[in-house]
């Protein structure tokens, strides 16, 4: 071995070890960064895994069993799903909830759109109006339902007195003894409440429309109505799609407004789907059958949500 070769070798080793050292240091830094990132998300991940992801799988398992609240659990395959229709209130509740959703969805959208169009400018006062229009939404549906219950009392409630004053009724309507009037009363509350959310969801989209488009259209002689239909509406259609899906999901999951105002009466005819799930589980104490209903709702909502995701993807 010549000295030059030895020198050469040692040089190569030094170079090699230096390179290796550098690599291992940068890997450990990246690894530490990766570990930090993971550790930071872990505390949030644990409850979500425990109370969302696991329950989804657990729900499927529960729904495949005859699972009383107390007593022996027995596997029964897809029996719970096959017998969903045997429940005296489940299918009527689905139908009722769909009718309710169908009634409130369009008015919420139209009123919300009108409100958003009204307050979208930066005119003085517009922001104050925006704030005021949104107040019922902030208060929440439970508290509003209690207040509304009082205003629906025959002879004394403001809703009845206004209808009497307008000359539509005698002011003595007991709203909750018929399915139709009970449903109508709840729909009015929810439309009044839900317009504010839609307004806020549409507002962002409307304010993103470039002012030049309106100016150009105005020069071309388009009136206000034409500008709304031809410019604003197409440009906010994704916001509309999104608020529609959110509103439909919200209506389909209706619970407290009916529990507080009708409690399902008369004769269970104003029972919503979520109310029925609750009753099946905790009143009838049949968790298996109740969970099967829950899984059906989950699948239906997932389908709706994928429409929403599709609408959002288009934006990019």
């Amino acid at each position: 071995m010549s000295t030059s070769a030895v020198r050469d070798m040692s040089a190569r080793t030094t170079a090699g070890s230096t390179r290796a050292g550098k690599r291992s240091r940068s890997t450990s830094l990246a690894r530490r960064g990766a570990r930090t990132g993971f550790l930071l998300t872990l505390p949030a991940l644990v409850p979500v895994l425990a109370l969302v992801i696991f329950p989804i799988l657990f729900a499927i398992y529960i729904s495949l069993n005859n699972w009383p609240l107390f007593g022996d659990i027995a596997f029964n395959g897809i029996d719970n799903y096959l017998h969903l229709g045997d429940d005296p209130l489940f299918l009527p509740a689905v139908a009722f909830t769909l009718v309710y959703t169908a009634i409130v969805t369009v008015p919420i959208l139209v009123i919300g759109y009108a409100m958003a169009a009204f307050v979208r400018s930066n005119r003085r006062g517009a922001i104050v109006f925006r704030t005021l229009f949104f107040l019922p939404t902030v208060v929440g549906l439970s508290t509003l339902s209690f207040m509304y219950l009082i205003e629906l009392q025959p002879d004394s409630g403001a809703a009845n007195l206004i209808l009497k004053w307008v000359g539509v009724t005698d002011g003595e309507t007991p709203w909750f003894i018929h399915q139709g009037t009970a449903l109508g009363a709840v729909c009015v509350l929810v439309i009044w409440f839900g317009g504010g959310i839609t307004m806020m969801l549409l507002l962002g989209g409307m304010q993103a429309v470039p002012a030049e488009l309106y100016e150009a259209a105005e020069i071309d002689g388009a009136n206000r109505w034409q500008r709304e239909i031809r410019i604003t509406l197409p440009l906010v259609r994704r916001n509309i799609a999104m608020s529609l899906v959110l509103s439909i999901i919200g209506s389909f999951l209706a619970f407290q407004q009916f529990v507080i105002l009708t409690n399902g009466n008369p004769g269970g005819s104003t029972t919503t789907v979520v109310m029925r799930i609750y009753q099946k589980a905790f009143v009838d104490q049949q968790l298996g059958a109740a969970t099967a209903m829950g899984v059906v709702v989950m699948v239906a909502i997932a389908a709706l949500t994928s429409i929403q995701l599709f609408a959002l993807r288009e934006r990019e």
């Binding site: 990766a34 930090t36 990132g37 993971f38 550790l39 930071l40 998300t41 949030a44 409850p47 979500v48 109370l51 969302v52 992801i53 329950p55 657990f58 729900a59 529960i62 009204f118 005119r123 003085r124 006062g125 104050v128 109006f129 704030t131 949104f134 107040l135 019922p136 902030v138 208060v139 929440g140 549906l141 439970s142 508290t143 209690f146 207040m147 009082i150 205003e151 002879d155 004394s156 009044w192 504010g196 806020m200 999104m242 959110l246 999951l253 407290q256 529990v259 507080i260 799930i277 609750y278 905790f282 968790l287 109740a290 969970t291 829950g294 709702v297 989950m298 909502i301 997932a302 949500t305």
Partner: protein
């Protein structure tokens, strides 16, 4: 309250080189009419709460405004366990809001600033959690809670609230941190800070609006939540306001006292209104962030 509203409104008015266009008379008249439609029922509730309980449900007459008093407010605290309901609502709402904000801040920082294996999966899991309706998962969650003694336990309800508000909070906080220039944070690392140290010293001031949004949204969501409290809490002394008021409606305390009911409703309404009017800016930001993700 209207004073508060107008102050917020002026604050949040974007700066424009030219003064905003003058409102027309039609605009003002229509605006006032619509405002009345949305605000008058809330004011009516406040008025009702001052009436005697029999006046609340009697045909209005010249005597409807006789004897206006705060008696209903006194009585709900004396005759009903209303103080307990109020305290319970505060406990679960503050607990839910603080827990959500803490976990969302950590996770939002982790997701915005670090790349690590499984990041995509964690994102996917949060997205699923954002979209799954908890209404459909009542039974499995109930059985889980039951197995570990968290049914009829406010800690259980707080965990439930944290879980279902977290996805929203994480997305808000992730966006907040992602908007902070990386250079600012790197300076902290050069000064020898750890990741948490950098977050605390440098990012905190810039993250505060996001944290405020998360706190406000979660607090209001917990304060007005009904189904979870109705399902997971069974003892009366653990109940929150909305469910406590339902007991009143369903006659748990004898004949329905509408004076108590309306006073109780006003008490649960007021914190929502005050928080919203005072922190409106953060509320609107949160709504924009939340709506992007559903």
């Amino acid at each position: 309250m209207s004073q508060l509203a107008s102050r917020v409104a002026i604050d949040s008015e974007p700066d424009h080189a030219s003064a905003p266009p003058k409102p027309t008379a039609t605009f003002i008249i229509l605006g006032v009419v619509f405002s009345l439609i949305f605000v008058a029922p809330l004011l009516l509730a406040v008025f009702r709460s001052l009436q005697e309980s029999t006046q609340v449900i009697s045909v209005p007459s010249a005597h409807s405004i006789d004897n206006l008093s705060l008696n209903n407010y006194v009585q709900i605290f004396v005759q009903l366990p209303f103080l307990q309901f109020l305290a319970n609502s505060l406990i679960v709402s503050v607990g839910g809001a603080l827990g959500t904000a803490l976990l969302a801040t950590l996770a939002g920082y982790g997701l915005a600033r670090f790349t690590f294996r499984g990041r995509g999966i964690i994102f996917g899991i949060l997205l699923v959690a954002l979209m799954v309706p908890f209404q459909a998962l009542l039974t499995p969650i109930y059985l889980e809670f039951n197995a570990v003694g968290l049914t009829d336990n406010q800690l259980g309800l707080i965990l439930f609230y944290i879980t279902f508000n977290l996805p929203f909070g994480v997305f808000v906080m992730r966006n907040t941190f992602a908007a902070v220039p990386k250079e600012i944070e790197e300076a902290a690392y050069v000064d020898g800070d750890s990741a948490l140290g950098a977050m605390w010293h440098v990012m905190r001031p810039m993250a505060l609006p996001g944290i405020a949004t998360t706190l406000l949204f979660t607090f209001l969501a917990c304060w007005t939540e009904f189904l979870g409290a109705f399902t997971f809490l069974t003892s009366e002394d653990k109940q929150t306001l909305p469910v406590g008021l339902l007991n009143l409606v369903q006659g748990s305390y004898g004949q329905i006292n509408f004076g108590y009911l309306i006073a109780g409703s006003v008490v649960s309404m007021v914190p929502c209104l005050l928080l919203y009017l005072a922190l409106q800016r953060y509320y609107v930001q949160g709504l924009a962030a939340g709506s992007l993700k559903g």
